[in-house]
Amino acid sequence: MAALGAVALMLVAAAAIFFYAPTDALQGPVQRIFYLHVSAAIAAFASFAVVLAGSVVYLWRDSNAADRWARAAALVGVVFTTVTLVMGSLWAKPTWGVFWTWDARLTSTLVLWIIYAGYLLVRRLAEPGRQAARFAAIVGIFGFVDVPVVYYSVTWWRTQHPGPIVATDALPGQMLATFLFTMACTLVLAATMIAIRYRIETLQDAAERSHVPAKVVSARPELGPEVAQ
């Protein structure tokens, strides 16, 4: 039900992007990529903030639920970062003449994608248990350092990528309203996806524990019944 609501909101946002927002005088219709490109980046940052919070709480309280939130949000964050990178490349080609340039904003965003794809790889390949969860939590905490680097890269370095335009009041009213609405809808979609993935992680943990023999549980208490948190 929440998923249907999130999809409905995204459809309203699409209508605003294509029928309400004015066409950019300089770039033409291709500028409309901006609305979902930037919103997806903000949704990715928010997802990685959940990974950070979940990782800190896991290391602090040894909470399996916090670890599951981190796992769920990392996957959602990687999906939104993929959308950001590809949509950005498709916007770059008609405006810059190239799909990709090793500019500070683009490179730091690619590094962000690699960090959290690595996080997911660790979770998939490592033997489930405290060791893997602790290592992933450390990656989740230190990986977040790249988020402010991505955000401030356009002010710290000279870049091809444009600087902040929302914070500097550079957007006309209708464009700003469309962007803020799209961003809110995208954040609702990301929150819905994280909640669904959290439920999946919980059920998967429960299924794995039900297959672990009692002797193994007594030897490795982290595999014991602590699913209902």
């Binding site: 995204m10 979902l36 959308v83 949509m87 916007w91 008609p94």
Partner: protein, 45 residues
């Protein structure tokens, strides 16, 4: 942002491609997650 002259591939095609990509990736991820959740709720792991 430096704006280049239009290439032989019309810029609106990039707009369509970008939103098609975003829709397919986010939509497929949501559907895949919902199907996985449904399977786990049924007890298939």
């Amino acid at each position: 942002m430096n704006v280049q002259p239009a290439s032989d591939f019309p810029s609106i095609a990039y707009l369509v491609l970008a939103y098609a990509f975003g829709t397919v990736v986010l939509g497929a991820f949501l559907v895949w997650s919902l199907r996985r959740l449904r399977d786990l709720d049924r007890g298939d792991s």
